[in-house]
Symmetry: C2
Subunit: 303 residues, 2 copies
């Protein structure tokens, strides 16, 4: 099952040439989840060949503009392009008010249902679940209320050893129950022990998204042991005072967090516009946590 | 004196690959005026090498998102990049409310003065004047209140014939009065007839900007005889019914308007996303009004 994230924007507060504000597109089993939506996200989707209309769920971490100014444009374009299926938005409550005011003054009546779910910042909570994954909030420490998101794949059904089943002419009617782990007594007297005909499914993977936050141990439990940790790394550690002051993280701190929480892989992004080249941020992080990659726009990372 | 306009966006309602929503940057004597500000305008400014901080005046035609969704991001970036000088925004009144709500929820206190001037749509009005130009509104006919803008250069001072003045050793102290058209009696008894030492300045030019509108003769008087008429041309004329229904104009109609109002040059833009190539729109307009050009992003047009 596909579980991968494409970077649509990797800049912090202000865009720079070649780096747009934050947005990511998560593909889980060919269902698409948009995570944050900075200005120009719809143009980035076009640029990288994604159909915006495939997105059914949007997760907005907080109401600093570099994480949501692109949403009103995206929703408007979906409307103008004839969308009819619903979209569900998980975001701070005030976002609904902001969008409604803009639709009101453009006299736009969105022709598809937009469902809002207000995120809370008092404690981590499970906010979404479907057949493929569930999503929990991560309570980050930023200047305004801010939640990260933890995307956890569901445990899949057991995998059939099809060659063996076919060789022994086991009826296909048995397959669904075998996938669910059952042993079977067949009418012809044969006994099928599940372990002989199936193998365990892949371990469910976790993707944690920490958009904007101070280095703060309170959320480490939420992101413990994830497969890919996306963590902001706005500054080099020589600017740790500035990071503390603005409630951001340095590349070194992001790497320390990955190490402390047992992440398998670290993806860093939300780079300050002061960095023309990102190599120093990568090298700083790798000095602490080797399996680090830069979040580069247009790149897709398997989780 | 420089008087030119650079196209930052030429798409209608939804962006397409290579075309962004509407925005234009007018340069009049090295002062910069932003006209509409679709999503991604700040990225376009970066892309084409303009410093956003040079913009002191913004004119927003109406509150359809493809004409203003980029403004909140631009204002935020100016704030984050340390702007302190004021900016003045001419726009429908509700825009102030929309911006304030977003600043409130991001807990942003913009550190430079933002002055709003609410445009009215009952009658054309002069809304701005400085040493270089004045600006009047054009009352367009769109689905929601919408004003175009007419930028009229001020009459410049007379041009000195410097070689002659230097050859006759006329004191430079006389130059300012000569520029203003005065004849002079010099203390040494010489009489300077202004016409002998100066020539008339260039004729003041006019740029008319008609963003979104139905073909409607009521605004033709406002745009009479302009040097460059920018007029939306969303559709080919084969879609005139759709143009009427959505209160837009066809390329053929834009050309007819240029002809009827005696424009010297026509610039067409606001192209529907259905047109991959724009040549048919250009050809249709040129069949009626030869001196037509396409508004191409990144191109600068002398007025």
């Amino acid at each position: 099952m596909k579980f991968e994230v494409t970077i649509l924007g990797s800049s912090s507060a202000t865009p720079v040439y070649n780096r747009n504000p934050t947005a990511q597109l998560l593909n889980c089993n060919e269902k698409f989840y948009l995570i944050d939506c900075g200005e120009g996200t719809q143009q980035q989707l076009i640029r990288f060949g994604f159909k915006a209309n495939k997105i059914d769920f949007v997760f907005i971490s907080h109401l600093h503009g570099d994480h949501y100014f692109g949403l009103i444009g995206l929703l408007s374009s979906l409307h103008l392009n004839g969308r009819i299926k619903p979209i569900k938005i998980f975001a701070p409550a005030a976002l609904a008010e902001i969008l409604e005011l803009q639709f009101k003054h453009s006299e736009t009546v969105i022709r598809y249902p937009v469902e809002f779910v207000a995120t809370q910042t008092d404690a981590p909570a499970e906010i979404f679940e479907n057949a493929d994954l569930k999503v929990e909030t991560i309570i980050l420490n930023h200047r305004i209320p801010c939640t990260g998101f933890k995307f956890v794949q569901k445990k899949r059904l057991r995998k059939l050893i099809v060659e063996k089943l076919e060789a022994e002419e086991i009826p296909v009617d048995c397959y669904p129950l075998l996938k669910r782990g059952a042993d079977l007594d067949l009418p012809d007297g044969r006994v099928l022990l599940n372990a002989d005909y199936t193998t365990d499914s892949d371990r469910p993977k976790q993707y944690c998204y920490c958009s904007d936050t101070l280095f703060d141990e309170t959320y480490f439990e939420s992101i413990q042991g994830c497969d890919t940790l996306y963590h902001e790394a706005t500054f080099l550690h020589e600017m740790v005072d500035r990071a503390n002051q603005t409630h951001h993280t340095t590349a070194l701190q992001a790497a320390e967090i990955a190490k402390m929480t047992g992440a398998a892989k670290l993806l860093i992004g939300h780079f300050s516009s002061r960095y023309k080249t990102l190599q120093p941020l990568l090298e700083e992080a790798r000095s602490v946590f080797e399996n680090t990659e830069l979040a580069i726009e247009g790149n897709t990372y398997t989780i």
